[in-house]
Amino acid sequence: MQSLVSITDFSKQDILQVLERAAAFEANPNMPLLSGKVVATLFFEPSTRTRLSFETAISRLGGRIIGFSDASSTSISKGETLKDTIMMVANYADLIVMRHPLEGAARYAAEISRVPIINAGDGANQHPTQTLLDLYSIQKTQGTLHGINIAMVGDLKYGRTVHSLLQAMSLFGAHFSFIAPQELAMPREYKQLLEARGIAYEEHTDLAEHIGNADIIYMTRVQRERFLDPMEYERVKNVYVLQNKMLQNTKPNVKILHPLPRVNEISTDVDGNPKAYYFAQAGNGVFARMAAICKLLEC
């Protein structure tokens, strides 16, 4: 029995298999492969966007859904342990999708559960189906995952989505450009991982000058609370805002990705540009999640 807690739980082959499946679901979204099955969606922390994406995926596969969208209305708020909740729900459901505010909660659940777990976010830690939909979006728009030039922009220090995407893309020999303020630079451990895999990367602090070669521009938000020095935030906050005019000399195939929700890191004048892909990217989430669910349930 396999769970999906971190993207590193999937091998390169697993990932390719899931992406192929996601494409099949996109071509034919209503496949009753989960008929007769029950999937639990346990949102110990509310996230409407992620929950709706999962519940759409389960519904399109013909599965039934049990669960809760906010732990405050359940016995958890009366002090029931995570273990007791998981043990109980694992008796009812064939698969558990869970989001929890504490880091490591999904790994623990996977250890004690008798059914597979999909981590839909454990605090600031992991959110592997986001990575699957990012990969699917890259493959779909570029035709391949191999040898992609990917520019990661913004908060590369705390952003879990860029870390997971880096781990996965490094399996396919990408070329990385990290564009971030010094305070939010890509952590050493991830650069070491690339070095160990013989993958080239470059680091820059200027956005406009270093996206000319990119096939994918992956934007993230620079948050005020990440800065020790508020003056430093004021100095850099507008440096990492992507504007339509910056896209003039970019490659014709380039696509802009963002895990959403966006605040102001992508100017709204980019939205109408065919290079903007972030809304379509979110839509791909349903197909990627359908494929991940089927992979874990072996159906």
Binding site: S6, T81, L82, K83, H100, P101, L102, E103, G104, A105, R107, Y108, D122, G123, A124, N125
Partner: protein, 155 residues
């Protein structure tokens, strides 16, 4: 009347003398080995002179012998510790400790948002560096270093 000098730590007939414990780690070692619940004769010495450590601590516990995995548990806080196994006042064997590849229980994860700090879950770590004592949490993946190492108290 010079007796005081020789009374620093009394000799034991059978048992274990744990030597070369850094002074700051004495009570951590007591906790890890659960010696606070030990019923036999127990002598603790702290802030003793040591060429090796500057200031060291020593523990003598009568009629108590430790298994290898018990001894290795204290490597987290006393990597240079030596276990002297005493039988009939003689040192029969000297054992050094080695940090195991995985640590279960004993230490707390330094990540305040880690699930193990909020739920009744036994901690688990992979030892990613034995030299610097770096412990990677098996649940949240964060690394706890020696400076932030907190030992979980035994009941």
């Amino acid at each position: 009347m010079k007796e005081e000098k020789h009374l620093k730590v009394s000799a034991i007939k059978n048992g274990t003398v744990i030597d070369h414990i850094p002074s700051g780690s004495l009570f951590k070692v007591v906790e890890i080995l659960a010696l606070n619940r030990c019923k036999s004769q127990l002598t603790l010495g702290n802030n003793l002179e040591s060429k090796l450590l500057g200031a060291k601590a020593i523990i003598k516990v009568a009629d108590r012998f430790f298994a290898d995995d018990e001894m290795n548990r204290i490597a987290l806080v006393a990597p240079q510790a030596k276990f002297n196994i005493i039988r009939d006042y003689e040192v029969m064997e000297k054992r050094t400790v080695t940090l195991p590849d995985a640590i279960v229980g004993i230490a707390r994860c330094m990540n305040p948002m880690c699930v193990t700090n909020h739920q009744p879950i036994l901690t688990k770590f992979n030892v990613v560096s034995k030299k610097d004592v770096l412990l990677q949490c098996c649940y949240c993946d964060k690394v706890t270093d020696q400076e932030h190492l907190v030992i979980i108290k035994n009941g």
